[in-house]
């Protein structure tokens, strides 16, 4: 159901904006398509290999191992490891989310994966070094990183509280 609504929203937005661009009659529409094509060529192979790779790795790694490193019972240490993994995961959302969801399926804890996704979103090393540093500059980047550093851990701890609250039995 959510998926359906999400798709409707997405395609509704696409239709609306496409109409806007088309009505400009100044090549906006074609240049948007060109941008989209460029991105699609960039994303498609990454998506393909990211999903396959994450699936195979999840099938290979013993669940007990995942659980012992970033499982629900690993506490702050698990959250710190998850932060580091999130920072180290390169590439776009397809890889990070494929890895995160595969880990969740084979025994990682919810708070740990919240931390993982947050760390990836706030400071993955690959994106920061390729994009943020050269564009934004060293000082502003370091300042932002220093402030963002504890956020994944704190969100993970909060997620743990919420999970415990919602599922007192587990």
């Amino acid at each position: 159901m959510t998926i359906l609504i999400a798709s409707l929203l997405l395609y509704g937005a696409v239709a609306l904006l496409a109409r806007l661009a088309w009505r400009r009659h100044d090549g906006s529409f074609h240049s948007a398509l060109k941008h989209a094509g460029f991105q699609a060529r960039l994303v498609a192979p990454r998506l393909f290999f990211a999903v396959l790779g994450a699936g195979f790795i999840a099938a290979l790694v013993p669940p007990e191992l995942v659980a012992s490193i970033i499982g629900d019972d690993t506490g702050v240490a698990g959250l710190l490891i998850a932060s580091a993994l999130g920072a180290a995961t390169p590439g776009g959302p397809m890889l990070a989310f494929a890895v995160g969801s595969a880990a969740l399926e084979v025994g990682a804890g919810t708070p740990q994966i919240v931390t993982y996704v947050t760390a990836w979103g706030l400071y993955n090393v690959n994106r920061t070094s390729i994009w943020e540093l050269p564009i934004v500059g060293r000082r502003a980047t370091l300042q932002r990183l220093a402030i963002a550093l504890p956020a994944p851990l704190l969100l993970g701890l909060a997620a743990g509280e919420v999970v415990a609250l919602l599922m007192p039995a587990g």
């Binding site: 959510t2 999400a6 798709s7 929203l9 997405l10 937005a13 904006l17 496409a18 806007l20 661009a21 906006s28 948007a32 398509l33 941008h35 989209a36 094509g37 991105q39 699609a40 960039l42 994303v43 192979p45 990454r46 998506l47 393909f48 290999f49 990211a50 999903v51 396959l52 790779g53 699936g55 195979f56 999840a58 099938a59 290979l60 959302p93 989310f97 494929a98 969740l104 919810t110 994966i113 919240v114 996704v117 947050t118 706030l122 994106r127 390729i130 994009w131 564009i135 934004v136 500059g137 000082r139 300042q143 932002r144 220093a146 402030i147 963002a148 956020a151 997620a159 919420v162 999970v163």
Partner: protein, 194 residues
Amino acid sequence: MPNPAQAGCRSPSDAGLLVVAAVAVGAGILCYIVKGREVFLATLSDDLGLLASVLPKVAAGVLLSGLLTVLLPRDKVARWMGARSGVRGLVLAGAVGALLPGGPMMAFPLGVALRSAGADIGTVVAFLTGWGLLSVNRTLVWELSFFPHDFVYLRYALSLALPVLLGLAARLFGARDAAGRQGGGTANSQGRAE
């Protein structure tokens, strides 16, 4: 409009793709050898099913980001946001970051434009945090496709306050930093008068 995507990033991102591809193929072969044909084929068909279910949304996401790249007047948005301040400015910056589709090639230049349009470091941090954690497009296209929905709601709800919190922290930190290093301005702090 300058686009650093073309200049600096072709080769590193291609190298990244090669690594991901090599890992995927290696893991596939290993899976076949260690776990056997059955598990390999079951995993493969699961993954292909996931890909098929994600593809239509990815297509929409790519189109959306192309359209917005063309339609969104980056300079105007920056000027409009640069003039706001206070906590409301941070909320607004986080919201714009969340609504802005597109990857780092879109977000970071806009962050810089914000800065030159007069926004303070807190606003830029709030904007980049909103983009990094609350991106509506990314959550609709990718996150909901991969993760259980409960997980996505939990993560998203917990992250809602972060743009404002980190923005406030950046202002505090930035103010102290600026006081401590009077006159030692870098290229990034030009044009700031506080």
